[in-house]
Amino acid sequence: MEKPLGKYTVSFGLSLALTCLFSSLLVVVKELSDKTVLPLMKQATGHHWVTHSVIDVILFVAMGFLLTKVQISPERLTRLIVASVVIGGLIIAGFYLFVG
């Protein structure tokens, strides 16, 4: 029987998938809320992109340590990560191509 994945591989893998999706949705939300969310993000650090990066990193690290009790097979985790990165990338590119 194969060894299970390390607990931090699972937790940070899940965190990676969730943060990628969150980050792409934040792109849409901030760009469509240029009188509310975007100014707030600019105000927080001086630049919306810096705030976006800081939120992503904090979320990734926090969820990475919070999700250590979750169990998932390597196959499902792999599919989840690939799907979230592909969907997230399509959301971002699609938004700037058709809406932004």
Binding site: E2, K3, F12, G13, W49, D56, P74, T78, I81, G89
Partner: protein, 151 residues
């Protein structure tokens, strides 16, 4: 100094891409004797990616505004409107993927097929996003160049 910073960020980005490709190929043939090298190069990719983000982020926040205005007035406004906007956000996914790479590399890639497939998928995504980001950088540079060229 600005130009040097630009070249450094593109060069570091290329190093991340090559490191991703390196560990992908190594992991295809993972065995006990190359696990340490896979873990070392994975960590290297993560460290270089963070360096890239700091250099590129500083340049983007401090200097890019002038170039953006030029690009938007030039013949290739899409170099900013699509490529730069997409790149600056997709790069955050690349940052998370490269940060995760050394964590995934801590598993037994030689004996655990599931762990190896997970690692290969992450490395593959790093290479593919790296290619997209490097290509976008080229288009943005061209947009900037065309904007200042005499018509």
């Amino acid at each position: 100094m600005v130009q040097v910073m630009l070249m450094i960020h593109a060069g570091l980005g290329l190093l991340v891409l090559l490191a991703g490709l390196w560990v992908f190929v190594e992991a295809l043939n993972a065995h006990q004797s190359n696990l340490a090298r896979i873990r070392g190069v994975s960590l290297f990719a993560a460290v270089v990616m963070w360096l890239t983000l700091f250099v590129a982020g500083y340049w983007y926040v401090v200097y890019y505004g002038v170039e953006k205005a030029l690009i938007l007035k030039g013949p290739w406004p899409f170099a900013h409107e699509f490529y730069m906007e997409t790149k600056e956000h997709i790069i955050l996914m690349l940052l998370l993927l490269t940060t995760f790479l050394p964590i995934a590399a801590r598993n037994d890639l030689a004996g655990n097929r599931g762990a190896r497939n997970l690692f290969l998928s992450v490395a593959c995504l790093i290479v593919l996003i790296g290619i997209v980001v490097e290509g976008s950088g080229g288009i943005i540079s061209m947009g900037s160049k065309l904007a200042v060229m005499p018509k």
